[in-house]
């Protein structure tokens, strides 16, 4: 694992898109940062996994999606939900356990869901989303709707049998699925080298006939570019894997003494902060002005503050409703 990269040479997306990518990353960053005090205040409970440092991945990929596409995430999925179009307030309310949340407070941080944006969660079983995404892609293909299923997962999931079984199946059946490996080089405290033997994640996909590409996951422009190309292939029925090399700046969750890595390593990666670096690039390219950035910051701060206020004002689902939705309330169509 190296923090080096020549990726800042990636071509810039068109100005409007570049601006949007930056703005989305800012939203994710601020949302995640706001979770910390809310957790410390006891408003957010349970496990909380932050995405700080990895924003370029969710933003670069999801910005390329169409409305009809389906998204499957992990337990580190606030950013994915946000970029996909789930409102900050619905996510925050979910984490506050309020019925105004995007899963009525039943899911919490690890289980965000939103039917309207085809956001299928929020999965706290490592690797658990992979077969789901394969099935969603099968439905796209059979129902000829033209959508792609996109599945995010960490490099830790690559050690699970679910990864191999899913990729094999997707490849055999030529399904429109994009596998996005968020390789942040640690699975909790386990470094990649004691998690995965032999060749890298891309080779592990290619061996199943899934095309694979590695990209600098700290560079949103590079991710955006690669995701666009990968999605086009996936949409034509060729499953693709995109490995995004990235890093989590924070602890794995709120229960993590970070015994397993050096502060210096974290600092080296922090110098490649995807938000700060892309901002600098856009400023020097004249695509974003300092003053605009300040306005965005205020806007995003306001959005997040409003989300917190909304979540605070949210209501608790009465305990009498506990057993609702164990089974569906409506007949299937």
């Amino acid at each position: 694992m190296s923090t080096d990269s020549s990726a800042s040479q990636s071509p810039l997306p068109p100005a409007e898109i570049s601006r949007d990518l930056l703005r989305q990353m800012l939203r994710v960053r601020r949302f995640e940062e706001e979770c910390v005090p809310q957790y410390q205040a006891g408003k957010i409970r349970g496990f909380l996994h932050l995405y700080v440092g990895e924003e370029a991945v969710a933003v670069g990929v999801i910005s390329q999606l169409q409305l009809k596409d389906a998204v499957v995430g992990t337990y580190r999925e606030h950013g994915h939900a946000l970029v996909r179009g789930v409102s900050a307030r619905a996510i925050m309310a979910e984490m506050f356990g309020k019925q105004e949340g995007c899963a009525r407070g039943r899911g919490g941080s690890m289980h965000l869901f939103d039917a309207a944006t085809r956001f299928y969660g929020g999965n706290a079983i490592v690797g658990g989303g992979l077969p789901l995404a394969v099935g969603l892609a099968l439905a796209e293909k059979e129902l000829q709707r033209g959508g792609v299923a996109v599945c995010f997962f960490g490099e830790g999931a690559v050690a699970e049998g679910a990864f191999h079984e899913s990729l094999n199946l997707a490849s055999l059946w030529k399904l429109p699925v994009l596998f996005v490996c968020e390789n942040n080089h640690y699975a909790m405290g386990t470094p990649e080298r004691i998690e995965l033997a032999g060749q890298g994640v891309c080779a592990k996909a290619e061996v199943h006939g899934v095309r694979a590409r590695s990209v600098d996951g700290m560079d949103v422009a590079a991710v955006w570019q690669a995701a666009g190309a990968a999605l086009a292939e996936a949409r034509s029925g060729q499953p693709v894997l995109l490995e995004c090399n990235t890093y989590r700046f924070r602890a794995h969750s709120m229960f993590d003494a970070e015994l397993y890595r050096e502060r210096s390593e974290v600092q080296a990666w922090e110098r490649r902060d995807p938000v700060a670096c892309f901002l600098a690039r856009l400023e020097s390219a004249g695509v974003v002005k300092k003053s605009e950035w300040e306005v965005w910051q205020q806007e995003v701060n306001a959005e997040i503050a409003a989300a917190v206020a909304y979540a605070d004002a949210g209501t608790e689902e009465p305990a009498a409703d506990l057993l609702r939705f164990v089974y569906a309330e409506e007949e299937a169509r």
Binding site: G101, A103, H111, F113, G128, V134, L138, W173, V326, Y327
Partner: protein, 330 residues
């Protein structure tokens, strides 16, 4: 033979159910190991690949976890999958998607994502297939909220429950006892009614016998034998193990005041335990004798014929226990 009846087998009844579903709804497809080219490991799907083609009859690789998970995903995406797992022992490889995903998703998403998947599998012993192919875990699966568990014992139920299951918005698991596939009989009805209702397969005043699946036939046989001694068993076919039809059960107990449970699953914490506990809770003051259970012995099913016979519930044992129940506390 009446006008609406057909001589058939349990196997053919299941096949016809699948055919009907495939013909009636383009979203339905069958997937599983060897359902296509091989014709199904129990020959259930024989001929369907030729009739419907490889997109509707999907041979999967040996990847229980992934293809069950994919079935769940496909259901979320709008298809109506029938996922076949060869036998219940292999379903353990897919318990994560079944419990952690299929059974939780609707609730966890606040009702947004019900999972209309049907998972069929063979279950049960009696064919000397030993400890990795013979267990009866359907009662164990019934522990899991969010699932519906069906256990068709009759040809009619084999024929009609599947269609009902495919219309449910929830994950439905159907367990077909492997000793039933060759069972011959007459298909009598044009529907299974509500599969969640237990059926009285034989009326009797002395003991309510609760059972399901292949044990139904042992129970009916025992009832015939013991009737010669003047003891009348009322044999209930549970048909669904989750949810349990407490109403029909309690009504019968109100008549007989005695309960005998026959279950091919292991005893401890099986469906037999739950049935006994429910009777305790709902009908304690009705009982003239403690509830008795006849289950498979708590042992991995052995290969040798005499050991397997000794492990599984048998007619003679049902007769003996039923007799004790009446004589001791009558």
């Amino acid at each position: 033979m009446t006008v609406n009846s057909v001589d058939t087998t349990y196997r053919e009844a299941v096949r016809e159910a699948i055919r009907e579903a495939l013909l009636g709804d383009e979203r339905v497809f069958l997937m599983g190991e060897d359902v296509g080219h091989y014709g199904g490991c129990f020959a259930v799907s024989k001929g369907l690949l030729a009739e419907f083609g490889p997109e509707r009859i999907r041979d999967t690789p040996l990847s229980e976890l992934a293809f069950v998970g994919a079935g769940i995903g496909a259901a979320l995406g709008g298809l109506r999958p029938i996922v076949e797992i060869m036998t219940v022992n292999f379903s353990l490889l897919a318990l994560d998607p079944i419990l952690n995903t299929a059974a939780t998703l609707c609730h966890m998403s606040g009702g947004q994502f019900p999972v209309p998947v049907v998972i069929r599998m063979a279950t049960g012993g009696g064919k000397q297939l030993a400890a990795q192919h013979s267990h009866s875990l359907e009662g164990w699966f019934a522990h899991i909220p969010g699932l519906v568990i069906l256990v068709p014992a009759t040809i009619d139920d084999a024929r009609w429950m599947l269609g009902w299951a495919l219309k449910r918005p929830d994950p439905v698991l159907i367990f077909e006892n492997q000793t039933l596939y060759n069972r011959k009989g007459t298909l009598q009805e044009t529907g299974a009614g509500n599969p969640l209702q237990a059926r009285v397969r034989r009326s009797g005043r002395d003991i309510t016998l609760l059972t399901y699946g292949a044990s139904l036939y042992k129970a009916l046989e025992a009832a015939e034998q013991i009737a010669l001694k003047g003891i009348e068993l009322e044999v209930l076919d549970l048909r669904a193990l989750r949810p349990l039809d407490e109403t029909t059960i309690m009504e019968s107990i109100a008549r007989t005041h005695r309960v005998l449970i026959v279950d091919e699953g292991w005893r401890s914490g099986g469906i037999s335990a739950e049935l006994s506990a429910r009777v305790m809770e709902r009908a304690f003051f009705e009982l003239d004798a403690p509830v008795r259970r006849i289950c498979t012995e708590e042992v991995p099913l052995p290969y040798a014929a005499q050991l397997e016979l000794a492990a599984l519930p048998q007619v003679s044992k049902i007769v003996a226990v039923a007799e004790q129940m009446v004589s001791k506390h009558g």
